[in-house]
Symmetry: C2
Subunit: 480 residues, 2 copies
Amino acid sequence: MDPTQSHAKLKASLEQIAALLQRHKVLETWTHNQAGQTEQQRELLESLVHRQNLAELRHKLHRMHPADIGYVLEALPADDRRLVWEQLDAPMAGAALPEVSRNVCEGLVEDTPRERLMGVLAHMDAEDFGHVSAALPREVLDEAFRARDEGERSWLISSTSFPEGSVGRLMIQDFVPVRDTLTVGDAIKEVRARPSLPRQIDSVFVVDARNVLRGLVPMRSLLVHDPARPIVETMAADLVVFGPGEKADQAAEAFGRYDLVCAPVVDDRSKLIGALTVDAVVDYIEARAGIRALQSAGLRGEEDLFSSVWDSARNRWLWLFTNLVTAFVASRVIGFFEATIERVVALATLMPVVASVGGNTGNQTVALVIRSLALGQVTLANARHLVMKELTISVLNGVVWGSLMGLFAYVLYGVAQIGMVMAAAILLNLMAAALVGVAVPLVLHRSGRDPAHGSSVLLTFATDGLGFLIFLGLATAVLR
Amino acid sequence: MDPTQSHAKLKASLEQIAALLQRHKVLETWTHNQAGQTEQQRELLESLVHRQNLAELRHKLHRMHPADIGYVLEALPADDRRLVWEQLDAPMAGAALPEVSRNVCEGLVEDTPRERLMGVLAHMDAEDFGHVSAALPREVLDEAFRARDEGERSWLISSTSFPEGSVGRLMIQDFVPVRDTLTVGDAIKEVRARPSLPRQIDSVFVVDARNVLRGLVPMRSLLVHDPARPIVETMAADLVVFGPGEKADQAAEAFGRYDLVCAPVVDDRSKLIGALTVDAVVDYIEARAGIRALQSAGLRGEEDLFSSVWDSARNRWLWLFTNLVTAFVASRVIGFFEATIERVVALATLMPVVASVGGNTGNQTVALVIRSLALGQVTLANARHLVMKELTISVLNGVVWGSLMGLFAYVLYGVAQIGMVMAAAILLNLMAAALVGVAVPLVLHRSGRDPAHGSSVLLTFATDGLGFLIFLGLATAVLR
């Protein structure tokens, strides 16, 4: 047993597979290019090469965990990805497909013949099927849906009725309900009857005759207590439950805060309808962190390294367009002062410094406020406190660094007024940046939007425009 | 039972507490300002107000989960925070303190009299004590350390010997080792003997006579199997283990990938030394996401909404200074072309557009590469593919949007050369941004740094400087 290094092992697997694929391509080209052979000889050679290499690849893949195969699929360029995908048998493909991102999943589904795709989908449980269903074309989804049994169909209908990013979308149906009239021993029998339970289900859920949740008993308690004892006497004291419409973000927060492994999901009449497990929450948190990082740079979060050029280019257009519009508006502010710049060309040199310093410190404020909003730490009561604090910091920094920059500008151009304008403009733009940096995420949050989305563009727009306006305006007034 | 809304309930608690604190302050001010009273009357009134309010506050706090108290402490301004902290008895304070961030923890420790602090620390288990120990002053740490028993001391010494961000720092000692000679029934007895086990310990770890890990048996298997069966026959097939020196990031990845709840930690001779549980991993992921968001804006990640103005200002200096230096260098590039700007002042108006578009699209590339690096998807083999893709996108976008902007500039100023220079400069700066956007995070990553740290500054520096150079350089050549 290798004690550590699950990560290193995975990296090594990826490299081995990439090497196999590389060799496959080289051999293929070589056999193609062999002159002086009959068509028959060439075909024979090709098929041998093919078979030997692909057998090795299949062998390698067969010993891997489905999640690791998912990782390999994500990490390969499109044609290699397809080749690996084709080597997977239906059960393995069915286990690996829910592990890849939406974007990769769509690509694989597109490339798979209908018959094989149906076979792959048939090997998924209802949750995994629900998970990949968003990536399926309409007719495929309909056909695969009809092929599932009654119970799965009704589960799929009810779980997909909840919005994306809700608890209802993450919950599973594989939990163990136990009637409140039973004993600990009876509950153990219920668990024994379900050998394929996911490992995250660490508790049984106690319900009454009408399926209303009464409490939860950790599996470990079942081990500890006397089998003859009524199950209701062993229920855990604190119980955290979720509603299917609740936001997954809030559920993730609660899992982190109360150290949950699994929790019951109940409808608005407290009837037990599902279970939320920590693995789904961890996947959700990880996916969200990745998507947020991309979104804050203006990408839709669906792009991966190997998305097609065309898709990627379009993914960036909205942002590029927004940026061009705001940059153009800020540039019109400068245009307004062309006469002043014509007289004192040094202003053109210095003005980007004012805009840039405002943008950067403002973004620090934005980052701090967004994080505090995410942690739920910003309330009406402390928003004023926050504004005052950020404003004080900006005055402090503005006085210190503004003076320094003013001095630099004076030394550089030998004109005292230019130095003074520079110092004053930096101070004022830092103050503006602090106010806008607090206000923008708060306003976006209040209006129900994700403040991580767009705060930065709006802020940079404001600090650029205001920076140019303040600096050139002051200069026009002072240097006439 | 309230089915959903753990989040809403918590928010409500916070607001109730804030209201209590507010009332407390108002009453205090009021009693202070009551004229025409004897000193005695005033004191009596004050103490009554105090007592009644604080009793209500204490009552409220007493019914809360320690993690929720931690949340409340985080969300309150410094003086309110202190007041709440003082109302907690030692066991509650000991449970709440490990839940707050490092920064808040340090502040509370500073404000707490030595004797009370010792009492609070005595109520923590070894893991929690280890967790807060970094926030304790040297002498306090020494005294509290000496007060703990032998076993805890040696655990603390060994676990703190691992670097920050390693598995060794996150692991706990509260696991259930079971000898490989025992039966399922014996293992159940071992579990029964440990009533206070954390809920995340969902398995027993099987070891041989020399404490070498042999495998893992989920608690649920203990319920399912015949008690007379040897425990080694029931061990789970796939086993993921970690080394204490392994990076927490990689462990978090493995927990997400393999849906783990708890995993054994073994030393380099495969001896069992600890357990890593999913709650520690979730906390780690959440903390890391928050810190990264702040770091990418140039904050150290220790600042919260209520850090003192002085600490916050200093936290931002390094970044502000870096930004001023790079902005100044970029501005010197402009200074180089002052003669050209003097002749054609329109250039001063248009140049920020070129720089800004390059910076923004370059940051999209940076975000994509950083995320792919974090997912382990970037290899030597596909780095070339990646560069080509980003370059192609930038040419596509540069031709489309550069022409459009060039047309705008032409319409605005009626000079064909200005339009052409604008179009060409945008195209070239987008290409430069794509190359720098791929190169910077890769180089930082290769040199062992976190690419999320600083990629953005370096990129903006390059695209600003290059943007001005390309645009003004072309203009100087064309418009002479």
